[in-house]
């Protein structure tokens, strides 16, 4: 007891120091944040702010470029995208930065944000300051447009329904295709395990589901009850419903679960490349669906930050020959005919349904199939 006085000197001191430190840092934290906020605003307001950090970023991204322009202050874009476009935009951003530098003499730094398509749309709605969005589904961009952040005719702003690249849904099977899976009707056979993410949480999985539905409808001459039975049988063969496309790929590839993975063509090609040519094969079904991942400028944000010109150029440039090359190299189907011709071995021509012609657009498809109580829910909930 007598030593009580001295004993606690250490914790007392250290606690005081920690608290003081924290308070100091809290101040710094908020300040630095305000700074970056201001940096953003100064870009918007017309390039009057001195943003050293941005300048050095821009230079680092493009060391070889000759500094001929120099008159314009560097600019920053935020591209909010979905999960499987990471590799594509990492490559494309470099290309565009070089182009913009040589064209306008301005350094542009493009920051990327990737997550599930729906979650990203929500983030933009809730205030993520995206200059452009490049998402998986038109439905997600429509949702942003509903909140008047994007003009409602966004789909007419760029060519091909504002989709600079397309993809489709294919089957990834194990080497040698031991279960002999050739087409959709092989997926409902007993003993075949199908891996797909959950259409409720994954944009990619909605394409999977709709492709299966479209196939069944065609086989049964438009009989919806039969189509419903078909998708029900298909999902009965799904042992694990991951929340996202890459989660499913990992389940199939790493954990060795399932006989066939329903995947985006670009994801399937990428997994074969990344995870082993000798382990997997891609099977093209007799009928699939044309996936059109759309892009849009977030009007409200670019107008506020004064980045409209570069944001529009950023999306426009996606349609040019060099960009389409990058797109094809990253396993998306190019929309430019000349580039398409060049890569036609990589992207076999198969009949494809489209969301607008065969499903009446995203809003209708979403309401009918994926909303609560929709067709997809009936697969699992007895008696609803």
């Amino acid at each position: 007891m007598s030593n009580m006085k001295k004993r606690n000197v250490l914790p007392l001191k250290s606690l005081m120091i920690i608290i003081a430190f924290a308070i100091a840092l809290t101040g710094c934290g908020w300040n630095s944040n305000n700074d970056s906020g201001n940096a953003g605003t100064s870009n918007q307001a017309g390039n009057d702010g001195k943003t050293d950090a941005n300048a050095s970023n821009g230079n680092a991204a493009e060391p070889a470029a000759s500094n001929n322009g120099g008159s314009k202050k560097p600019v920053e874009l935020l591209n909010v995208s979905y999960d499987p476009t990471r590799e594509l935009y990492a490559a494309y951003n470099k290309l565009f930065a070089e182009y913009w530098k040589s064209e306008k003499g301005q350094d542009v730094t493009i920051k990327q944000s990737h997550a599930g398509s729906g979650a990203q749309a929500r983030a933009v709605i809730d205030g993520l300051k995206a200059d452009v969005v490049t998402l998986a589904l038109g439905y997600d961009i429509d949702s942003i447009a509903q909140k008047e952040l994007i003009s409602s005719d966004w789909q007419q702003q760029f060519d091909n329904n504002s989709s600079p690249y397309t993809s489709t849904i294919v089957f990834l099977v194990r080497k040698g295709n031991p279960k002999g899976i050739k087409d959709w009707n092989d997926l409902v056979k007993p003993g075949v395990q199908v891996i797909t993410p959950n259409p409720k949480t994954s944009g990619g999985a909605r394409w999977n589901y709709l492709a299966a539905w479209g196939y069944a409808l065609k086989q049964n001459n438009g009989d919806e009850a039969k189509a419903q039975e078909f998708v029900k049988a298909l999902f009965k063969n799904v042992p694990v419903l991951d929340t996202g496309a890459r989660g499913s790929t990992t389940t199939f590839v790493e954990k060795g679960i399932g006989d066939v993975l329903l995947a985006w063509e670009n994801e399937a090609l990428l997994s074969v490349k990344e995870l082993g040519k000798d382990k997997f094969e891609i099977v093209y079904p007799s009928l699939s669906i044309l996936a059109e991942p759309p892009v849009a400028v977030v009007d409200k944000n670019v107008d506020k930050s004064g980045t409209r010109e570069v944001a529009e150029a950023y999306l426009d440039y996606l349609y040019t020959e060099p960009a389409q090359q990058v797109i094809a190299q990253n396993f998306y189907r190019p929309t430019l005919a000349s580039v398409g011709e060049q890569y036609k071995d990589q992207f076999p021509d198969i009949p494809m349904l489209t969301i607008d012609d065969d499903f009446g657009g995203w809003a209708a498809a979403q309401a009918k199939h994926f909303a609560d109580g929709g067709v997809f829910d009936k697969i699992y909930v007895p008696g609803s």
Binding site: M4, P11, G37, T41, D126
Partner: protein, 291 residues
């Protein structure tokens, strides 16, 4: 009494035989504990390190030196440095009020403090979006004044603070309740002032509990994924924390790199534990000299 300290010191010398279990019982109990820990905790940790080094040390260190990883590390540490002290001060105040005084509604207060644990991390993020997001209650006002809370540091700090809110308080409340108020009352009757009582009587008694609380709070603050994921905006090199960076790497099929960064978080936790051991050792050395 000073029980916490004496017991801790007595650790080195074995407990007196008559209040200890027989050797067989001890071995059985230790074995069960180790087996359980092995299966539930050690094995997953081991698998992380094995995965991390699968492609060799080059890949491992390259993953840690990556600029995105470094900026994520900085953000994670900064967040923890703000959130943990805030919750520590709160925890001590709450534990003091709850354990030293009687008042009505105490159980409700304790339950409210527990509540952040029960809230799904997704919802923990969402509540701040509902409050500060562009469509939220304060959104328009914030946007008019060019204040960015969501998808920036303040949002990440808020979400982390929410998620780690109860740790220190919850660690201290049962401890201080068990200790009762006699010592403080004795000090008060001898004329000690409020802060004096706290620093000299209470703090020495609770410091181990406090330390555990801070360590847990800190570990959780650095590891939080769900809530932060909702409010971060995932901007690379800017609003990605370490856990989010790990997810990014994993989703890019860079499994080794992702587990390498995960192992970094494990090691950060180890550092806090080394600090704890150091303080233990330091106090243990101080005592015999003085008594």
């Amino acid at each position: 009494m000073a029980g916490a300290v004496t017991v801790h010191l007595a650790e080195k010398s074995a407990r007196p035989k008559h209040i200890n279990e027989s050797i067989v019982v001890r071995i059985v109990l230790i074995s069960i504990a180790l087996l359980f820990l092995g299966l539930v905790v050690l094995l997953p940790l081991l698998s992380i390190f094995i995965e991390a080094f699968k492609k060799g040390t080059d890949v491992y260190f390259a993953a840690l030196r990556d600029p995105d990883a470094l900026s994520a590390l900085k953000l994670t540490l900064l967040t923890a440095v703000i959130a943990v002290p805030l919750n520590t001060v709160f925890g001590v105040a709450a534990a003091w009020a709850i354990s030293k005084f009687r008042f009505r509604g105490k159980n409700i207060l304790i339950t409210l403090i527990d509540l952040p644990f029960a809230v799904s991390p997704v919802i923990a993020g969402l509540v701040f979006i509902l409050l500060f997001g562009a469509q939220g209650f304060l959104g328009p006002w914030l946007s008019d004044h060019n204040i960015q809370i969501m998808f920036a540091l303040p949002g990440i700090v808020l979400a982390t603070t929410f998620v780690t809110f109860p740790f220190v308080a919850r660690e201290l409340i049962p401890l201080m309740q068990a200790q009762g108020v006699q010592e403080e009352e004795a000090a008060a009757s001898l004329g000690a002032k409020g802060w004096q009582i706290f620093w000299r009587v209470t703090l020495p008694n609770i410091k181990w509990g406090l330390l555990y609380g801070v360590i847990l709070c800190n570990a959780r603050a650095m590891g939080e994924f769900g809530a932060v994921s909702v409010v971060s905006g995932h901007i690379r090199g800017e609003t990605n924390t370490l856990p989010l960076h790990i997810e990014i790497l994993y989703n890019e099929y860079q499994f080794s790199a992702s587990f390498a960064v995960a192992s970094l978080l494990v090691m950060l936790a180890v550092v806090t534990l080394i600090v704890k051991s150091f303080i233990e050792w330091k106090t243990a050395k101080q005592l015999p000299k003085e008594s």
